[in-house]
């Protein structure tokens, strides 16, 4: 079964450093998403992306965050200057929204655990 992959599985960084989290969505999917989940809390939507531009973003997704699809397969989340409160699990997801697809499910990756020290 096709799956979303994410790298690295765990990233440790110092406050103020830039990090890039990488995702490879399922190949024929067209919508991509980033979520975060602080330990013990709920999953929070960050951003959705379609046709090389942001479709929706949450209030969390401020100027410190950016997303990019640099090539035909990768989807990245960049945090420019990390803060302690950015420590969380970050999940990437993708959806097939092609015509005729009867179910709109998001396929989530295994996540990247970001620890900011």
């Amino acid at each position: 079964e096709p799956e979303v992959t994410q790298t690295p599985s765990h990233q440790v960084t110092q406050m103020g450093q830039e990090v890039i989290l990488r995702c490879v969505p399922i190949s024929n999917h067209l919508y991509f998403y980033w979520y975060r989940q602080i330990l013990g809390q709920k999953v929070e939507f960050l951003v959705s992306f379609y046709n090389n531009e942001i479709s929706e973003k949450s209030e969390i997704f401020d100027d410190q965050f950016s997303v990019e699809r640099p090539d035909g397969s990768n989807f990245t989340l960049k945090i420019r200057s990390t803060k302690l409160e950015d420590s969380a699990m970050y999940f990437c997801a993708s959806t097939d929204v092609s015509y005729g697809t009867s179910v709109r499910e998001q396929y989530f990756g295994p996540g990247t655990r970001l620890t900011v020290t």
Binding site: V4, L30, Y31, Y33, Y35, K42, V43, E44, F45, S48, F49, Y50, S55, E56, K57, S58, M89, F91, A93, T95, V97, V103, R104, E105, Q106, Y107, F108, G109, P110, G111, R113
Partner: protein, 112 residues
């Protein structure tokens, strides 16, 4: 986006049927109801999606009354491995690029 309300937690025993109800009083005409399951340190996993009446797949059933203001996820004969957090989501998923809002979810604990 329609707000959802679910019980915070539920306990069950192996082999029992578990029903988790979600309230979504402000559901819109184009909204679908989707349930996800999440194990610790893993990404959410799709369980089932429906618009009205009843939907069944190999994992669960989803019951949606005519007014669509609530929905019930039914897990038949749960096992220990069904211990997880279950999320009910409501949204116009067919437009794509939607702002997906997860609530706090329901923590299901299955005991032997």
């Amino acid at each position: 986006l329609a707000k959802t309300t679910q019980p915070i937690s539920m306990d069950s025993y192996e082999g029992q049927e578990v029903n988790i109800t979600c309230s979504h009083n402000n559901i819109a005409t184009n909204d679908y109801i989707t349930w996800y399951q999440q194990f610790p340190s893993q990404g959410p996993r799709f369980i089932i999606q429906g618009y009205k009446t009843k939907v069944t797949n190999e994992v669960a059933s989803l019951f949606i009354p005519a007014d669509r203001k609530s929905s019930t996820l039914s897990l038949p004969r749960v096992s220990l491995s069904d211990t997880a957090v279950y999320y009910c989501l409501v949204g116009d998923f067919y437009t794509g690029g939607f702002k997906t809002i997860f609530g706090a979810g329901t923590r299901l604990f299955v005991k032997a």
